[in-house]
Subunit: 221 residues, 2 copies
């Protein structure tokens, strides 16, 4: 019987830790390869080469190349969510938190291009993330909904802004900016170039889309 990677090691502890370390090492290497060679330049053989091991040995840790993609996808989602959450926590609740959160998202994605493309670009059509790996992105929508609710409560936006529709519309802004930046200025970080600096301007349009009943300290740009 072959060793199934789905069955870890309930017996030992030292062994389990070693195993987990190797798994992390494989993911680190895979991420580095993806960064250097492009998302679908990732190859099991290259990972094995860098790990100093023969290709079949990788199968002791991951059942397939797709499983590595999936683990990287999850890793990216978790890190990305954390950076967004932190930025939002350090901002004024409401529109400011939403903007800062989305900027942090953009910053993270441009700084981790390979993972970002894997997560939001889907350049490997044969790879479909598992439900578990997808879960953090649902949490992201929840965070944005909460910020929008805060903005409505604070009178920054009209009540229609507390809706999934508004989340989709705003996510369109950040998606557009990032798509353009990654396709046309793949080496620039957030805040440089022709596209990412326009994001704050775009966010200033949100009150025009969902005008509050009592106009606040609105200023023209």
């Amino acid at each position: 019987m072959r060793t199934e990677p789905s069955a870890p090691a309930p017996t030992s502890d030292r062994r389990a830790r070693r195993r987990q370390e190797t798994i992390e090492e494989i993911l680190d290497i895979a991420q580095a390869v993806m960064t250097e060679e492009g998302v679908n330049g990732l190859s099991l053989a290259e990972v094995a080469r860098r790990l100093g091991v023969q290709p079949p040995s990788i199968y002791k840790y991951f059942p397939s190349l797709m499983a590595i993609y999936d683990a990287l996808f999850l890793r990216g989602q978790v890190e990305h969510l954390a950076s967004m959450r932190e930025a939002m926590a350090n901002a004024t609740p409401g529109l400011d938190a939403l903007t800062k959160g989305l900027e942090a998202s953009g910053r993270w994605l441009l700084a981790h291009r390979a993972l970002g493309q894997l997560m939001f670009w889907r350049p490997v059509p044969s790879f479909e993330p598992s439900d578990a790996s997808f879960a953090p992105s649902i949490e992201m929508v929840r965070l944005q909904r909460a910020a929008l609710a805060d903005a409505v409560a604070a009178g920054e936006l009209g009540p229609g802004a507390d809706s999934d529709e508004a989340v989709y519309l705003i996510s369109t802004f950040i998606a557009g900016v990032l798509t353009q930046a990654m396709a046309n200025e793949p080496d620039l970080p957030w805040g440089e170039g022709r596209f990412t600096p326009t994001f704050p301007k775009l966010m200033q349009l949100v009150p025009a889309l969902y005008p509050p009943r009592t106009p606040t300290k609105k200023r023209r740009s």
Copy 2:
């Protein structure tokens, strides 16, 4: 000496036509394969199989797989540009033409997903389009600039809208809508789902970004 695909056949005419037919047939098949299997599911071997020929024979027509990608890229650019140009010609010059043109662009891209991804998604990092294949996209920017100039002349937008900056900003809208639609609702055509229907609303924001000196029927709240 091997037959170089870069040296067509200046001698015959009948031969040249046959050759061109085969080239088109290969591209048709390649496009079909990409549509079915995803952009980087395209394989020379599969094309050869469907053409009823051995894989090396393809090299009589294209020097490499990348050359096929490049020809498809060019094909897509030309078709896409044509559909956009037509939509703009049948609209009122100015903001209407710009909106209709971009909608036609979105419609075309969702209807030709494989080519669209190849053109604007770049899922095959090892593939970089040749300058010749890239040329139509420059013409696209020119068309949009012209529409913006018309809009300014008609008083629909302020003078700042006649700028490359405005083109980038507006292309952010369409890119965002399409990115979200293709990533999250890959099977819906333009006009259905959560994202593409928001595009007209987004375009209505453009006058808010570049307010005309003499306000038109539209007013800010």
